[in-house]
């Protein structure tokens, strides 16, 4: 919402400065977004008198002007056709930077003639696109003063953000009321005296809703016929106002509707009465009807819009936009003025459905003051007859103004107990009265009647807000919440803490944390088991982001591809965030996903990098699980990872077949091809919600440490087994040889190759024996070794490698 300081002062008697007005606007909740003070911006550009303009000796189109700037005579070479002796124009001296071109002036020679400064056009001043000639000022304009004041540009333009609840401030009068209540002056009443009555209106208004239940679309319509008008350009003062707030003057009749919309927040429409066939009819639109609107676009109705029609059909959307068929033109002589009230919800729906953003829609969908229907028609008729001549008819009144009157109870104590500020009761009453409320009763039982323009106020809290915002939020005292405990207690749940730990442990392993979109393209979702119709957006921001992600991996993989294109091909990324199974509240899982691509690092003189493989991803998963307190020696590693992993080089980490904690491995080559990235690329997904929570009432004490004082020994073995034997089973078999003595089994070599045959592999393990009560004898050690060999033979058909 834009206004000018001068326009505001039409409604507010005040001697406040611009600064004070701006400060108070923001303080009462009408946030100042910008201020444009053209007078200040253009202060250097002054009125100049062209004492003489003679043709340039060497150029037909140029003139050499002697210009009296008020502080001396300058010679200016000028190409404008209207530059002539005796005119007054706008002078820009050397050194200034012209706003419209960004060029800085300096003394120069044009075709051999000295030129110092410039006579400027409107476009060069950034005022309009006019560039056919230089600005011409009135001949009595005083030489040497800034020209902005002379042409009325010295009225600062203020843009305020009006929140959706404050529709009455979409008229400058409403803004003035707030400022007056806040002590910045006195609100000036506007003239709403009745006009008209010279003759009965030849045009009537009828509500012709097919379904009476939809008649609330337009409950009231006042009209006035004005005959014998002349529709030329609107007066200078009105054009200046409209231009200042960015509206283009069109004709007096159209300008009047725009002016009243911004001046009083009352949208109007004016029909060319001679183009209206029969009565004006208000009803709902019918599917298939269409009309050409004032924006010259054709709108086809979906049905259900509130339309303004006549005997020849629908011509406009009520409260949104009128029709071209009966709009006003320069030839219009008789008009019919509309001042009506349209239902906010239907207005919003119509506007949204047809993509029309008009000043009328903006106001009606926020709930225009219903009482303004009655005074609005008089304000409009008066402006039309004053500015266009003619005679106004009786007022046609169809329907009844909706009664939204209500009275609310206000307890004076609530100002402090809700608003947090002590406001004297007299001040409460003064503020409410100044805002237009009626106040009866006192203390804890004030009965407050709400003015018709305050559609947003429907409870005590609203009244408290009005009192406190006008009194000033600055006066609210600052109070701290009472502390709940002497020392703060943890704020995270165990699951939330796991998420935090997961992030830090993965980052500590050299991975970079990313935050990627929750959505991705459907084709990628489908590669990772998603694409369910219930998880596809109806209005995605682009086709690339139309589906909720079923996994964290695809976005990380495509991020790796982007990084690779930027020269960072060896990369480790992770994200901890949601993935989506369904649209139910519990259909969202928190997952820690990560990928590693390329090699383990850059080439280095002392450490050779290698290609990443599934065991990197396994290490990441296990490290994370360890970090959140899981004993990974107790988990099972199995095959059966999801389809987007390489079937032979992936696995799952589980606690029993039903409790899957993680999956990891090489990403399936076909998936990588679809995502247009080259491997090696490995990934993992740890399902954070599946990690068992610590038992309630856990103790902080740890079990006592038991260490052996006796010599531990290790024995190495190399076994040959079938290739399909899992090493995990070999380790289990070895440990089973003596569960008390054997404390660790480490695999230190793996050989698969021709020397032992295609179906076999050699696995070398080191078995650690740790006696608790004595030093083992060679005999005892040998006996355990024999048992290991026997167990291996029995469990996994392993033989010692010869």
């Amino acid at each position: 919402m834009k206004l000018t300081l001068g326009w505001l002062k039409d409604h507010l008697e005040t001697d406040a400065t611009l600064e004070q007005v701006l400060e108070k606007l923001t303080a009462v909740g009408l946030e100042v977004e910008s201020v444009t003070d053209r007078a200040a911006e253009l202060a250097d550009y002054t009125v100049a008198h062209v004492v003489e303009a003679v043709p340039h000796p060497d150029a037909d189109r140029l003139r050499v002007c002697k210009v009296d700037t008020g502080s001396g005579i300058e010679q200016v070479v000028c190409g404008a056709p209207n530059a002539r002796t005796g005119m007054k124009g706008v002078f820009a001296r050397s050194g200034l930077t012209i706003p419209g071109t960004g060029l800085t002036l300096k003394p120069t020679k044009i075709r051999g003639v000295e030129s110092n400064g410039m006579l400027v056009s409107e476009r060069e001043m950034g005022l309009s696109n006019e560039h056919d000639g230089i600005i011409e000022l009135a001949t009595d304009a005083p030489v040497g003063v800034p020209f902005a004041g002379v042409v009325g540009l010295d009225d600062p333009v203020i843009e305020v953000a009006i929140t959706p609840n404050r529709q009455e401030c979409l008229g400058i009068h409403g803004i003035a009321r707030d400022l007056a209540a806040a002590g910045l002056g006195t609100l000036k009443p506007f003239n709403r005296d009745p006009v008209g009555g010279a003759f009965p209106s030849p045009i009537g208004v009828r509500f012709t809703f097919d379904d009476p239940a939809t008649a609330d679309a337009c409950p009231v319509f006042h009209g006035c016929y004005v005959r014998g008008v002349k529709n030329g350009p609107s007066p200078e003062w009105m054009q200046r106002r409209l231009k200042a707030i960015g509206l283009r003057p069109i004709s007096t009749l159209v300008d009047i509707t725009n002016f009243v919309t911004y001046d009083l927040g009352r949208p109007l429409h004016v029909f060319d009465a001679d183009k209206v066939q029969g009565d004006i009819q208000v009803r709902l639109g019918r599917e298939g009807e269409s009309f050409v609107a004032l924006d010259d676009r054709t709108y086809e109705m979906a049905g259900g819009e509130c339309v303004i029609a006549d005997d020849s059909g629908a011509h406009g959307f009520g409260g949104v936009m009128g029709g071209a068929a009966n709009g006003c033109t320069a030839e219009t002589v008789n008009v019919f003025i509309e001042s009506a009230w349209f239902d906010p919800v239907r207005t919003a729906q119509t506007g949204r459905r047809h993509g029309i953003d008009s000043d009328a829609r903006y106001r009606f969908e926020r709930g225009v003051d219903p009482e303004s229907v009655a005074w609005g028609i008089h304000v409009a008729a008066r402006l039309v007859t004053e500015l266009c001549g003619g005679e106004a008819s009786d007022i046609v009144q169809t329907g009844a103004i909706p009664d939204q009157s209500r009275t609310l109870r206000l307890r004076q104590s609530r100002i402090a107990s809700l608003g947090g500020v002590q406001v004297p009761e007299a001040e409460t009453r003064r503020i409410l009265t100044a805002l237009g409320f009626g106040v009866e009763g006192e203390g804890e039982d004030m009965q407050v009647s709400v003015p018709s323009w305050r559609v947003d106020v429907d409870g005590e809290a609203d009244l408290v807000e009005d009192v406190v915002r006008i009194f000033g939020y600055d006066h609210i005292e600052t109070v701290q919440l009472p502390r709940l405990s002497d020392v703060a207690t943890p704020s995270l749940t165990a699951a939330q803490r796991n998420v935090r730990t997961a992030r830090r442990s993965l980052a500590a392993r050299g991975m970079y944390e990313c935050v990627t979109w929750s959505f991705l393209p459907l084709a990628q979702a489908e590669l990772f088991g998603g694409g369910d119709a219930a998880l596809r957006l109806a209005n995605p921001i682009s086709a690339d982001l139309d589906c909720m992600r079923p996994s964290l991996l695809p976005n990380l993989i495509t991020a790796a591809a982007r990084n690779s294109a930027r020269g960072n091909g060896d990369i480790a990324l992770f994200e901890v965030g949601p993935q989506y199974r369904s649209d139910a509240p519990d259909g969202q899982d928190t997952v820690a996903g990560g990928i590693r691509r390329g090699r383990t690092g850059d080439r280095h003189w002392a450490a050779s990098p290698r290609a990443v493989d599934a065991f990197d991803a396994k290490a990441d998963s296990e490290a994370l699980l360890n970090a959140v307190g899981l004993d990974t020696s107790k988990v099972q590693i199995a095959r059966g990872a999801s389809d987007w992993y390489h079937p032979g080089r992936s696995g799952v980490i589980q606690l029993g077949p039903k409790l899957r904690l993680a999956q990891f491995g090489e990403i399936h080559p076909a998936v990588l091809e679809e995502l247009d990235i080259k491997g090696p690329l490995v990934g993992f997904e740890v399902f954070m919600d599946a990690i068992p929570q610590p038992k309630a009432g856990r103790k902080t004490t740890r079990p006592p440490l038991t260490v052996s004082d006796f010599q531990a020994v290790t024995r190495d073995f190399a076994f040959v087994v079938s290739r399909d034997v899992a090493v995990a089973d070999m380790i289990r078999a070895a440990r089973g040889a003596d569960r008390n003595l054997i404390t660790a089994v480490d695999i230190f070599d793996l050989y698969e190759g021709e020397r032992i045959g295609a179906d076999a592999k050699s696995v070398a393990m080191s078995v650690r024996l740790e006696p608790m009560d004595r030093t083992l004898t060679d005999k005892e050690i040998d006996a355990v070794g024999e048992k290991v060999i026997a167990n291996m033979a029995k469990s996994v058909d392993a033989s010692l490698r010869g």
Binding site: Q349, G420, D456, R469, P490, G510, V515, G577, P585
Partner: protein, 357 residues
């Protein structure tokens, strides 16, 4: 027998030894069983007691002196040997060490940890809720009337309507979790809710997904002064400043009444925003007293319970605190950006150790 001459002779043999092997040979030659000293010692038995008493101590002294000379020589030879070895054992210590990569924590996570730390001290718990919401929790229960223009302002992402006509959406704010918390838990409440939020908006300063942190406090006897106090205390702690200028402006949100927007004092200097300096204002959050209709929608009696709520952009305050210029880069996963603006995993924010380095 000239012991002095013998001594000079034998010690000469020891000090002449040029390496540890020669020294061992010298030891055998001077102190061994076949040495002249041993021979003389053996002769002591044949001496008369008076002579023996005179000679024996001198021989013992000689023996000790020889042992000492051998030890000294050994030490000297070892030192010399070590020196030779050390001289040969130089590496170029300017060579780069073996690589150890440390990753980074994303600024959003770091800032969430910082905020969590501050509010934990103020007695808040962390609540969470689903990104995919229904109309009730995102709008209706928060006092958005149907077709209200405030719904339009939210640029909501919708899913296709279900068979029963219900249309799910991506939450436009974390305020939906206020409702879920009040529905399922009894007051009083003191929670903050960080999370992903979504609006159909994409330009220089907007992304279709962003992060918000919501606060909700419900209790008896709370008023706007508590809201002001809470947010001021938070801002000082978060921006790590003794004093932060704040301005509460009246505003509008359907779910709060009275409502306010909060600006923070700052300076704009060559494109850099500095909090705690200057005379400009920058909007950082919206807040207000929870609307009675919201309390009622959650089954609370507004005459008994009252409180306040606020919502703040996490990405935005991360940008402000750490001078990060472009919001869109937060979601681009460019490792160069992550390395520069991300945080070391060991830099865990804490009140005791400081929120930031």
């Amino acid at each position: 027998m000239d012991i002095e001459k013998l001594k000079a002779d034998l010690i000469g043999q020891i000090t002449d030894a040029g390496n540890l092997g020669d020294l061992e040979a010298a030891r055998v030659a001077t102190l061994g069983k076949k040495s002249r000293l041993s021979e003389v010692m053996r002769g002591l038995g044949k001496m008369d007691p008076a002579e023996r008493q005179q000679v024996a101590p001198r021989l013992n002294a000689l023996k000790n002196a020889l042992n000492q000379a051998i030890d000294d020589r050994r030490g000297a030879l070892k030192r010399a040997e070590l020196e030779v070895r050390l001289a040969a054992e130089q590496v170029d210590i300017t060579l780069p060490a073996r690589p150890e990569v440390t990753g980074r924590i994303h600024p959003v996570s770091q800032v969430v940890d910082e905020i969590t730390e501050i509010f934990a001290d103020m007695g808040f718990a962390i609540a969470e809720g689903p990104d995919i919401e229904d109309d009730f929790h995102n709008f209706t229960a928060l006092n958005f009337p149907p077709a209200h223009p405030a719904r339009d302002m939210h640029d909501t992402f919708f899913f296709d309507p279900k068979e029963d006509g219900e249309r799910m959406l991506l939450r436009t704010h974390t305020s939906s979790v206020q409702i879920r918390t009040m529905e399922t838990q009894d007051p009083p409440h003191r929670i903050v809710i960080p999370g992903r939020t979504y609006r159909s908006d994409s330009d220089m300063t907007h992304t279709p997904m962003f992060h918000q942190i919501e606060g909700l406090v419900i209790d008896r006897n709370l008023h706007m002064g508590h809201l002001k106090g809470t947010l001021e205390a938070f801002s000082r702690a978060f921006f790590e400043l003794d004093e932060v200028r704040m301005r509460f402006r009246p505003s509008y949100f359907p779910f709060t009444e009275p409502s306010a927007e909060v600006d923070i004092g700052c300076s704009f200097d060559k494109g850099q925003i500095r909090i705690g300096e200057g005379t400009d204002w920058l909007e950082i959050l919206g807040c207000g007293m929870v609307h009675p209709n919201v309390l009622r929608a959650c089954g609370l009696d507004p005459e008994e319970w009252q409180g306040f709520a606020w919502g703040m952009g996490i990405d935005r305050i991360a940008m402000l605190k750490y001078g990060i210029p472009d919001l869109r880069a937060f979601f681009d996963s460019d490792v160069r950006w992550l390395r520069h603006y991300g945080f070391q995993p060991t830099d865990v924010p804490s009140l005791g150790g400081g929120l930031s380095r």
